[in-house]
Subunit: 358 residues, 4 copies
């Protein structure tokens, strides 16, 4: 008889539950991870609400921190008991898409190898990380050892929001001395701010409507924090930049209004780097887009995964380039995760990220 | 009393005329070009119709081929009598924008140095090329000698449509073996097709509704030419690519429908390179955009100018990489240019480009 | 008892032989390919001469064209009997090096994941392709189906010399209208010439000492072919370019003299793309290097592998961008390969490449 | 009669002197700067020693901080009395080389427009900055206003060593989380260290033989500082990186030994970014270069100039990204500059940079 574990499953729109499930059996290219810490993502809230459909009964969550419990026969160079993380996106790295530099859009091994968001498997197309155990597919490519001396919470942002936020800054192609605006300072926007700082931005202007988030943004490297409740942010940013606009703007929310503002403050020749998950068709205003003649770039990024990406991000933390610790504002045990979802989805009590421990 | 010349001026929406005007006096950093051949651009038709506003009395046109008549005191390394062209976009190359790699968005020397489309001066903010003489500002940066043995018509596309079309292919970041779709095969789309071929595309699919343009596209390097009157082009391109989509798509018209199709045929991770001049807000369809998670890039390009760009383009022609001669379908004298506008603006008689000689 | 096959093995310096060997057994991530056509590479000649050491008894060769004989249990999306090729370099694509964009330097799954030239396994660290059967490791990442209608000889250059030569042009970062010099027009140099043409070079100058190779270079896209026996090539190239030098130069031989000439003809700011395998320390002449202040780039490339690369290269051939057929000058059966080595290693009879069939 | 000023001139090898010279007359595209602060560069010491030849009588120095005294008739957007700096390299920005992205190799307006190090004019081909007044050519492109609130000493490193050191980091193409080694921690090496930090390096290892410089390196962002007198640095860096090597190494001295060490510690696929001025042919060791098959890049950079570069660097300082103040260890009046040369050229008293005021 199979051994059992606790797992957070999607039941139906509006309902997730912690249930007993069999600990998964692994194949030769998989690994089994025992989860020690995980967290809840904004995407999980979309799943909870039924806005992003997944199968009923699926274990959700995609931010695993833990220990190797068992290794498939073909997985080399790791030891059982080793502390590891895996990216929220866990591509095969051998498909056409992956070899072509689009690993987050990994379509697997049939057909042409591309699938929109196909690299995102945990808690989407296979069982996820909000459980006591997690099957990691293509483990050779996805298990990333945690450097000695780093705690679970210190690396908890690596699998998703740090990788995503940094990708926003990387795709913005920031050059030394650039002026960068970041719209929305939730967890991903805060990481985008930190990423812009790490790439050498000379001035970082952030926008949000919550004081605590604007304060945290300053901690993450923002020079100027604007509250959209108090100023017309487009006007203000154009004023700050002497009418020139910013070199790059990063959208980190997923609304028409933030997307549009990000374009309106952009200099001709600038890059709008979009991270948000939109829920309706976007409109590009003609004037701000210079009728198509402004040498603008609009770039979107899905969270990069894989063990090399994770290694780099943990390296950044290990060498004190950034401390994402303050983003963990609340802590729950796995059995209380429904409560954590309630807090997180309603953004109560100044919550940024919640650590879930097993 | 000033010597006089013939010049094509914008009078009012719907009316351009050839008038007598004084030959311009030049300053120390300018040159005076005697125009031998020029042409009419789609943008000029927008000006004629009043859709793009310019001052009444302005000489229009921005595609100059001719001879140096006079050089300003500071302009070195040229001789009077030398055959030259100048780009449609003639930046200063010394502003902040130019030094920052955005020379087409040159805002000049006051303030922050950026201005949307600011590098476009001929026939827009200063007198243009559809005249017997043309003042070339920042002549040191903009006069490009024509290699021996090339005719006026051979280099007539360099100032604008060749530079623009090629920029569409360059911004698409085409890699060897890429599959590329080009939407619309007017003069700029045809040059984008030729540019995609030059960058190493492995398969080029073009779309238009006019047989003659589809035929010409094949001459410019297209592998597959689709008539949007006969097939659902999105469906067809997805079928041709086995459902994968194209690596890059180039929009060369400026309509919502072509922009949208260019996105719908794009693989996740692909680049939509837009050249069209749009006349209303664009809509980005949510599904084709993968809700912002598809690692897509949308890039716009304004015609690059300057003597180095012109040198490179003429080099391409001089070494028989491409023959844009067939694009010149009609020829008129300058005094008959109103007739040429009539033909060109109504796209009669299979016209692609019209050579205007003085 | 194991079934047997013919294989070309390295015996000792100066001696290769065709022997009977057991057909390899495959693991779950491998495939067994039945070779229908292969060829001999310059590197194989280094191995034959003992200049590049491999184990005695190793099957050599790394350019496989054939048919899938058997698939490992985990390899999906292929059928037995399908025509395929595999790259000379067959990386795992899951190591740190591969995920970091250095797949040719794949160090496998232990330690830090980097190994110089580690992606080159066939005929180097594992048995190679000059045999009736070949074990392809990490088959999911490396088996590339041959498009319908292409013959073995048409795709025979893809696994190595086409991928290598093109990489020389790609790493040279050629822009439309660049002037490019390619030093040496053996098989790889000829492919570099073709690659430079495909990337949009405006003028290609090639250098060799053999008339037939200079003729073939013109067929591959060279504009000017210089015989180093007849002219001082550095002087000549500087004269042709008006003293400016070339935008990029490609070294395709591996000698101090060609490396040095490639630097001497380079403009300040230009890129020297090196493909040659050197056999002694290289010297960078101070003057040509502007004492380190010339904004020069020196870039080396090892043949890129993987099924996506192979797919792209075959796509180029399928769409008639280039015909490498003429490079196959001689044909032998596998049992006569020793004779083929003799011809090829002495470069007799105008040999460029030899097709070996089973 | 011309008004006179003090200027530091090169007399003969081993001798510079402060002399009286006429204040220069300016042309329409020039500006006259009154120097308030300048400094001495390592290159000036080469000039002093006769190792880099300049004309006898030339005013030397290329790091100007001061005030606009007079503007040429064509120079717009500035006011007399405005505080400005100009880059050590002051290109025209209109030559072919400049438009092609190689502004430091600006060959001016005759011929093909390229000249090795041609953008370096001050104290090399025209009179320089160690004087009371400086003629700035192409002033429109080169005068960079100092932001309010920054002192002369705060921006004194911008014209040369900050721009050069940062270029070393930029050319190294550092990605977030990279491991970077910087060889030599003189003023330029220290700026390269700061630049690597600004680009997001995850670990920075620096090498020097002087304790004070290693201490200063830690202040500039180094994680690990190695004394080459105490350890075998190649061995040590390989040990630190677990045998993998660094992603990028920066050479900041100009010796065979540092160049070679920078290559020996480099991972396959890594970039060696060279800033040093070499005085003899360089040797590339075959093994460390993987015989040309290691996918290595060797890149050199000459200090980027122009007002946009200067604007960005001053922006970095204005927003407290870095404090280069501590690099100014000594201060002299212009009339005592010979004494300052003596101190600086003998690296006495822990000197890093010397501020010279007028």
């Amino acid at each position: 008889m199979a051994e059992m574990m606790k797992a957070t499953i999607f039941v139906e729109p509006g309902r997730v539950e912690v249930e007993e499930k069999a600990i998964p059996n692994i194949g030769p290219n998989d690994a089994l991870m025992r989860i020690t810490t995980t967290t809840i993502c904004g995407t999980d809230v979309h799943i909870l609400k039924g806005e992003y459909p997944v199968e009923s009964g699926l274990t959700i969550g995609h931010e695993p921190v833990g220990v190797i419990e068992k290794l498939g026969a073909n997985v080399q160079g790791y030891q059982e008991g080793q502390r590891v993380i895996a990216g929220a996106i866990c591509p095969s790295f051998s498909s056409y898409a992956c070899q072509d530099g689009c690993s987050s859009q990994d379509g697997g091994h049939h057909g042409h190898g591309y699938k929109p968001m196909g690299g995102w498997r945990f808690g989407n197309t296979i069982n996820g990380a909000q459980a006591e155990y997690l099957l990691v597919p293509d483990a050779q490519a996805n298990l990333a050892p945690v450097p000695d001396g780093l705690t679970d919470e210190q690396v908890l942002m690596c699998p998703d929001i740090m990788s995503t936020g940094f990708a926003g800054a990387e795709s913005a192609n920031i050059k030394i001395g650039d002026i960068v605006a970041v719209f929305a300072q939730g967890p991903i926007g805060l990481c985008a701010t930190a990423g812009a700082r790490l790439r050498g931005a000379g001035m970082i202007i952030v926008v949000d409507g919550v004081d605590a988030r604007l304060d945290m943004a300053r901690q993450m490297g923002a020079d100027i924090a604007l509250d959209f409740n108090k100023v017309d942010v487009v006007e203000e940013i154009l004023k700050i930049t002497g009418g020139r606009g910013v070199d790059a703007s990063i959208e980190a929310l997923g609304l028409q209004s933030t997307f549009e503002a990000a374009l309106r403050v952009l200099k001709p020749g600038g890059t709008l780097s979009s991270l948000g998950v939109y829920s309706e068709d976007l409109s590009i205003p003609l004037g701000a887009f210079c009728a198509g003649l402004g040498d603008h770039k609009i770039v979107t990024s899905l969270c990069p995964g894989g063990k090399e990406r994770m290694r780099r991000l943990m390296n950044i933390i290990a060498h004190d380039r950034i401390d994402l610790g303050p983003l963990v504002t609340h802590r729950y045990a796995l059995e209380d995760i429904v409560e954590a979802y309630d807090l997180f989805s309603h953004q109560r009590d100044g919550v940024l990220k919640v650590a879930i421990t097993t």
